[in-house]
Symmetry: C2
Subunit: 112 residues, 2 copies
């Protein structure tokens, strides 16, 4: 799928995958790919800056760990992040119904 359509929804997705448990960056990418049946195959240049944005915003916290010689930075949701996720979900619902009113068939304009 055209990934640029994600604009503005990526943060919500990241928070959502972290909701189920802490993951490191690479694993987040794989989780997104897995849970979307391969539809979301996001490059590191998209994920890592987004994670740092979320960390600056206080929505996630990161801890370094070394696993078999490899450094990995594991991210976990903060309370603030959990609240942000709730807001994102509400926003998504609103966005979905608003756009859906134009693009979903069945209830177009005047429902007369």
């Amino acid at each position: 799928m055209k990934a640029q359509a994600l604009h503005g929804h990526l943060d919500a997705l990241l928070l959502a995958v972290l909701e189920q448990g802490a993951l490191h960056g690479y694993a987040i990418i794989e989780a997104l790919r897995a849970r979307s049946d391969g539809n979301l195959d996001l490059p590191t240049g998209t994920i890592y800056p987004a994670l740092r944005r979320l960390e600056r915003a206080g929505h996630v916290a990161s801890t370094w760990s070394t696993v078999s010689g490899r450094e990995r930075r594991t991210y976990q949701l903060t309370d603030s992040g959990r609240r942000a996720l709730a807001g994102e979900r509400a926003g998504w619902r609103e966005f979905q119904t608003t756009v859906g009113r134009f693009l979903d068939p069945g209830s177009p304009p005047a429902p007369a």
Copy 2:
């Protein structure tokens, strides 16, 4: 609602409103506002460039008319536009289910 979330879906919305009949730019803005209960209040600087993009792409055609001294440019959907709209609808459906899998409650991860 945060309008920047529209990214990538605006063309689809414009095609959708024009699907029900030709409108001029200003009327399109009002139609979007009306059909979205005021959630979509898009500035002219968003709409006009988008319409010209769609026209360059051949998805809409425009005709000038003068109404009580005021020039207005009326846009109508072309066949190509109708096809594009169908594609946009399909894309929207895919986007919706993909993102929804993360943000809609009820069917989160392992559906075991």
